[in-house]
């Protein structure tokens, strides 16, 4: 959620109080830190704009300037200048000009609809345009902007239809809320046509049974507000989160509205949304509210109070709050919740918008984060008996045995072109199965390993690989150990470790440990191999010959191995292998030959004979 600091300060938070509060500031950096360490991570900010990563359990109330201002108010312990959700909802004239029919109230618990007449659609006043633009929204016209502003302000998605495009009957409009029929199509405001999944919730002009909006997601072309619009039908509703989410997923159409509805905001919020949008629209468009219909067949019961004890708070957080005072301070003063303290227990009645507070542990989290996790001490666990790592050690013992035999462990991908288990939604359609064995992955790895062997292995070693990994044949998943060749005569090159008695094999084994250095990237360019052998006097040290070769081979020689030596008639022959590679380019044979000439010259100069 992108929020504007100017919006917060203008409407909700007193700049003076923010700055007076213990030397804290009102600048974006300070606000970002407050959010990050007490509520939600701020992904980025500028002087005015903060991008707050509202967590899923708080999307019902915090995808709004009001919700995030409330968080800051609780974190800093300063009151909101005003809180629209604590101000009364006025009663509106009942609309005779409008009816609302909801087919299935479980899909649409509440639908408030208002008729506003005599509006002049035009550009928004500059404060409104600037407020929207500050958070990256495009100003469209005063009516659409008003609905967007109220949504960004308090979190209730809203929509305005052009009343003249609905079929009035004896001066009455009829709004319907129903599921889409099989094969039904819909054209959105932006002109895209969608084939709707059966049952997707639609808003209709009920007189003609004509869809005018995909409920909770996007409005339609059929009743679009334009410059010519004079009369409006305005929607402030609550839709079932899972249904909205399913439809948005099926259509791959996620909007500001669907993001909010799928997180189940309280149906209570719809009334505040309607109150604010009507106030704003009548103010800036000159229209007049004719009437409002609030279809709310089964009003949601108030959330039950949640009770938590000081012992539970301390017992879960592992900190020692002395007495109830800091707890009461968090819930009563900072959040302004209705609380009753009974000894060392507090009973908190969450306000309607806080759909996330349901169990004692939810309250523990509020105390933990508002007071700050930095004040939680760091305590080691008490000792416990010998842990069971036998199976792990059994697997690791197998690996250590193979390493001793010169095998190298690799890790390959679990997806394969062939198999018994198929993915419904593969990332790569050519690898849409799960491997039934490690065989193919290892064979590919071996082909590559043979190609790269001179870079990593001495000349006399040929690559031998193994892998331990889960495989998925139709008989069921198991852990396979597979080698590219057998390690011991008569022992198969693969094993089902899920059947092996690994616990017995491993229980007393200490896996070998190694310390690794920093990772050294490899070059993507081809390498060139050259061998050189020479006769040296018998007492010549191998290392000094290697040293000489390395010196004259230069930095492009990335590997030097002595792979053979023998003595004859008082002389020693050393054979070395050099591997040349550049990080910047493909080396040419000519270039490497020139280097080798230098090496030969240096060896000859020492009196060594090149073989």
């Amino acid at each position: 959620m992108k929020i504007s600091r100017a919006w917060l300060l203008k409407k909700y938070l007193d700049k003076q109080s923010l700055e007076d509060d213990l030397g804290n500031g009102s600048d974006a950096e300070r606000l970002a830190d407050d959010f990050t360490f007490h509520a939600f991570e701020v992904e980025g900010y500028t002087d005015d704009l903060l991008d707050v990563k509202v967590l899923p359990n708080r999307a019902a109330d915090c995808l709004s300037h009001r919700g995030l201002a409330k968080e800051l108010s609780a974190i800093r312990g300063i009151p909101l200048k005003r809180d629209p959700l604590r101000e009364p909802v006025p009663s509106f004239p009942r609309a005779n000009a409008l009816t609302v029919e909801i087919e299935d109230p479980t899909k649409c618990p509440r639908y408030i609809s208002a008729v506003v007449k005599g509006v002049t659609v035009g550009p928004s006043p500059s404060w409104l345009r600037e407020a929207l633009e500050a958070v990256g929204q495009r100003s469209i016209n005063n009516v659409v902007d008003a609905t967007n502003y109220v949504m960004l302000d308090i979190g209730q998605p809203l929509h305005a239809f052009d009343a003249a495009k609905l079929a009035g009957k004896e001066g009455r409009y009829a709004i319907g809320v129903r599921g889409a029929t099989k094969g039904e199509k819909f054209t959105t405001l932006s002109g895209e046509e969608y084939a709707l999944p059966e049952g997707a919730l639609l808003i209709t002009d009920a007189q003609r049974n004509l869809p005018i909006g995909i409920a909770g997601i996007k409005g339609g072309k059929a009743a679009e507000v334009t410059e010519a619009t004079t009369d409006l039908v305005i929607e402030s509703a609550n839709f079932d989160g899972p249904s909205i989410r399913r439809t948005a997923q099926a259509l791959a159409l996620f909007t500001e509205a669907s993001t909010r509805f799928q997180n189940k905001p309280s149906p209570g919020l719809a009334a505040y949304g309607m109150r604010d949008v009507l106030a704003l629209i009548t103010d800036i468009t000159g229209g007049e509210v004719i009437g409002v219909v609030d279809e709310y067949p089964a009003p949601a019961p108030a959330y039950p109070p949640v009770r938590v004890s000081l012992a539970r708070i301390n017992g879960l957080l592992g900190r020692r709050l002395e007495g109830m005072a800091p707890v009461t301070d968090v819930f009563s003063r900072r959040f302004g919740f209705y609380c009753v303290a009974a000894g060392e227990t507090i009973i908190v009645t969450p306000p309607f918008e806080r759909t996330d507070l349901a169990i004692p542990e939810d309250l523990v989290e509020e105390v933990g984060r508002i007071l700050g996790y930095d004040s939680i001490p760091s305590v080691e666990l008490p000792p416990m008996g010998e842990p069971d790592q036998a199976r792990f050690r059994g697997i690791e013992r197998m690996k250590d045995q193979l390493i001793e035999q010169g095998f190298t462990e690799v890790s390959t991908q679990s997806f394969a072109p062939k198999g018994d288990v198929m993915l419904a939604n593969p990332l790569d359609k050519t690898k849409s199965m799960l491997r039934t064995s490690l065989e193919d992955g290892l064979a590919d790895a071996l082909t590559k390993a043979r190609e790269y062997a001179p870079l990593v292995l001495p000349p006399n070693a040929k690559p031998k690989l193994f892998e331990v990994g889960s495989v998925f044949p139709k008989e069921g998943e198991y852990l396979e150990l597979r080698m590219t060749e057998t390690a011991w005569k008569g022992v198969p090159a693969h094993d089902n470790l899920s059947k092996a008695k690994l616990e017995d094999y491993g229980k007393d084994y200490e896996p070998k440990r190694y310390k690794l250095g920093m990772y050294k990237p490899f070059s993507q360019y081809p390498f060139i191999v050259r061998d050189v052998a020479c006769w040296v006097p018998a007492d010549t040290d191998e290392a000094s010959v290697g040293e000489l070769i390395r010196k004259h081979a230069g930095d492009l020689a990335v590997r030097l191995d002595r792979f053979d030596t023998f003595e004859k008639e008082g002389r020693t022959s050393y054979a070395f292998r050099l591997v040349f590679q550049s990080f910047e380019r493909t080396l040419t044979d000519d270039e490497v030959n020139a280097i080798m000439e230098k090496v030969y010259a240096a060896l000859k100069e020492k009196g060594y004979e090149i073989r």
Binding site: N57, L316, Y373, P387, E404, L423, P458, Y514
Partner: protein, 261 residues
């Protein structure tokens, strides 16, 4: 007489060495090592962990679903129709995290328990230098009487000091996971990089999760954490690309100087 050097020992994959480091460090704090299947059921991967169907929190995990060969049709538009099963039959998926091992271990051993569960997990998301569709996670779970968030801090403090650097530091930030309450994001100050790095998610095990695993939440409580193993290793060893780990490329395995301890 010819003398060729002996064929040297092979190499273990760096993830194997990391798992040995983790098993050692957590083993000395009383943690066993537990395992679970990679091909999981929807119950263990989501429902038992308090992640309701059709809840937006499921979007936190992009899931590979398994196609039912009998009833399956190719999926379209993000719909899961093709993996629907008959009533009473569970939908299958590739586990998106190692957290299902929490449930399996609690069901098998009950409380008190301390385990780490390393293993491969799968996310259906586009791959790049920091995202792989297949990677390893390190799950941790400690459930007992009186285990607190302070113990989580103490345990992870010791882990980062031993695995990364004696002067590594941790901080907790608020977060949300359906299976922990409270939930925290864990950042580490790693002196070698001189900045705070996000290293794992953690929290106090949600009472519903304990209930689902038939453990009495009135008697037992505890913490859980989950870290991306490749991410930890990328930080520690400066590995630039997550895709190197499971490429089957021996140049990666040999890309580190190795000293026996």
């Amino acid at each position: 007489m010819s003398d060729t050097p002996p064929v040297p020992e092979g190499r273990l994959h760096p993830v194997t060495l990391a798992l040995r480091d983790f098993a050692d460090i957590f083993g000395r704090m009383g943690f066993g090592v537990a395992y679970g299947p990679e091909l999981e059921t929807e119950w263990y991967n989501f429902d038992a962990l308090n992640i309701a169907p059709d809840h937006p929190s499921r979007d936190m995990w992009d899931t590979f679903w398994i196609k039912d060969p009998e009833r399956g049709r190719p999926p379209s538009g993000g719909s899961n129709d093709s993996v629907k099963t008959a009533p009473g039959e569970e939908r299958k998926l590739l586990r998106t995290h190692t957290s299902p091992v929490q449930i399996r271990a609690l069901e098998k051993h009950g409380a008190p328990i301390r385990i780490i569960a390393p293993g491969k997990v799968f996310r259906n998301e586009a791959t790049d230098a920091t995202h792989e569709a297949q990677f390893y996670q390190l799950e941790g779970l400690a459930v007992g009487e009186g285990i607190t968030l302070a113990h989580l801090k103490g345990t992870l403090d010791r882990f980062v000091r031993e695995y990364f650097d004696a002067s590594a530091k941790l901080r907790f930030r608020p977060s949300y996971f359906p299976f922990t309450e409270p939930s925290v994001e864990v950042d580490m100050w790693f002196p070698a990089q001189g900045k705070w790095l996000e290293v794992m998610g953690a929290g106090m095990v949600h009472p519903k999760v304990l209930e689902n695993a038939k453990v009495d939440p009135a008697k037992y409580q505890g913490f859980a954490f989950g870290a991306g193993i490749e991410r930890l290793m990328m930080i520690k060893y400066g590995v630039p690309d997550a895709r190197l780990f499971h490429s089957g490329d021996i140049r990666f395995v040999y890309g580190f100087d190795e000293k026996p301890l």
